[in-house]
């Protein structure tokens, strides 16, 4: 007769990704690198923010970027102008970076550069408000960007990324006067689910708020 059994696994579906992320973080720790994972919907301003950040901090810290542009090298090329190593990750059709892809980037960092020289690695995740939040890559902190053009309800509708973020950057605030956007409302909506998050309003165009962002980044460096 047919007898069935149960094997209790209780394994997290993202177990393998999590292990990979922990492994990546060990490498970063061993080299004294702080890794920051930059996440947002497409076009919220990740690359422009990184351009400004590299410009301001590249002489203060030794920085590398792991770039998760989906199919092109456009973003990587923009960042290479600042003479820092930019390691593009081919994410194929994937809507997020996972720890294995980032491990590929770390491998390149290890073999083509001297990893102990570095202080800071930025990971620019694939533009997507949903998926990257579930896939840790080995970062020490998560940074979520929300541009003012996206609307104040986005944290309520796509809560996971905002709930997990250590720092929220409200971007493109130079555009706020042209829009019906309530900046306090964004803050309220995010604090409902993440009361501890650091919130900084920035404009990569006018430079507003960027000093505060640079200071936040500098505070994360080991």
């Amino acid at each position: 007769m047919h007898q069935t059994f149960d094997a209790a696994l209780e394994i997290n579906l993202l177990h393998a990704n999590q292990e990979g992320a922990d492994h990546n973080r060990q490498h970063f720790d061993q080299w004294g690198i702080t890794c920051l994972n930059i996440m947002s919907s497409p076009g919220a301003g990740k690359t422009v923010l990184l351009e400004q950040t590299l410009k301001a901090l590249k002489n203060k810290f030794k920085i590398a970027v792991i770039e998760g542009d989906m199919t092109t090298e456009l973003d990587a090329d923009r960042l290479r102008k600042y003479n820092v190593p930019v390691i593009p990750i081919n994410t194929g059709r994937s809507c997020h970076l996972d720890s294995k892809m980032v491990a590929g980037g770390i491998h390149i960092l290890e073999h083509q550069y001297n990893p102990t020289d570095f202080d800071l690695v930025f990971v620019e995740n694939v533009g997507n408000l949903v998926c990257p939040a579930e896939f840790e890559v080995g970062e020490h902190a998560k940074i979520a960007l929300l541009s003012v053009t996206e609307g104040e309800d986005k944290p309520l509708k796509y809560p996971v990324m905002f709930q997990e973020a250590d720092c929220l950057l409200i971007t493109k605030i130079d555009l706020a006067p042209y829009l019906d956007i309530d900046l306090d409302r964004i803050t309220e909506n995010v604090r409902q689910m993440n009361p501890q998050v650091t919130i900084i309003s920035v404009s990569a165009k006018t430079g507003e708020g960027l000093e505060e962002w640079f200071a936040w980044v500098s505070d994360r460096i080991k």
Partner: protein, 144 residues
């Protein structure tokens, strides 16, 4: 979508488990627990599962997904509440932010239901699942 990747991870985990079993049991059902406060859509997961398993040893294995609601605990009110996803996460009574999530973040392979093939000649002697014709794209090869 990312459900594709999660399914890949799921298949790898089940494969590992399968290979760790000395008598290569016949897997019948995989039970998952998916919280409502995750980025995972059960329907997409089912779809990805059917597509990705159709030509491997897991063909026809049923994926059973149990969803768990988002439940938070308010420390000021000392009570649990169910935030309204998409609308409000703070405590409806005192407005304190959602800090303590009791349920809803699960993404877990709960258990595997299998039958032993110990007394069967080889593997796959018994087929509790007739191949469905729900399969998408390509031709379904015989699961044996």
């Amino acid at each position: 979508m990312h459900e594709t990747d999660m399914t890949k991870a799921l298949i790898l985990t089940v494969k590992d488990w399968y290979h760790s079993q000395p008598d290569k049991p016949k897997i019948e059902k995989i039970h998952l627990i998916v919280g409502q406060f995750t980025c995972v859509e059960p329907v997409s997961l089912q779809f990805a599962w059917e597509v990705q398993t159709q030509n491997i040893f897991l063909a026809g294995v049923e994926l059973v997904i149990k969803e768990t609601p988002l439940i938070a605990f308010c420390h000021s009110c000392q009570q649990e509440y169910q935030p309204e996803i998409g609308l409000q996460y703070s405590c409806p009574d005192c407005n304190s932010p959602m800090e303590d999530i009791k349920s809803g973040r699960e993404l877990k392979i709960d258990r595997i239901e299998y039958s032993s093939t110990n007394n069967l000649k080889g593997c796959g002697g018994e087929q509790p699942f007739a191949p469905t014709d729900k399969c998408i794209g390509g031709s379904r090869t015989d699961p044996n």
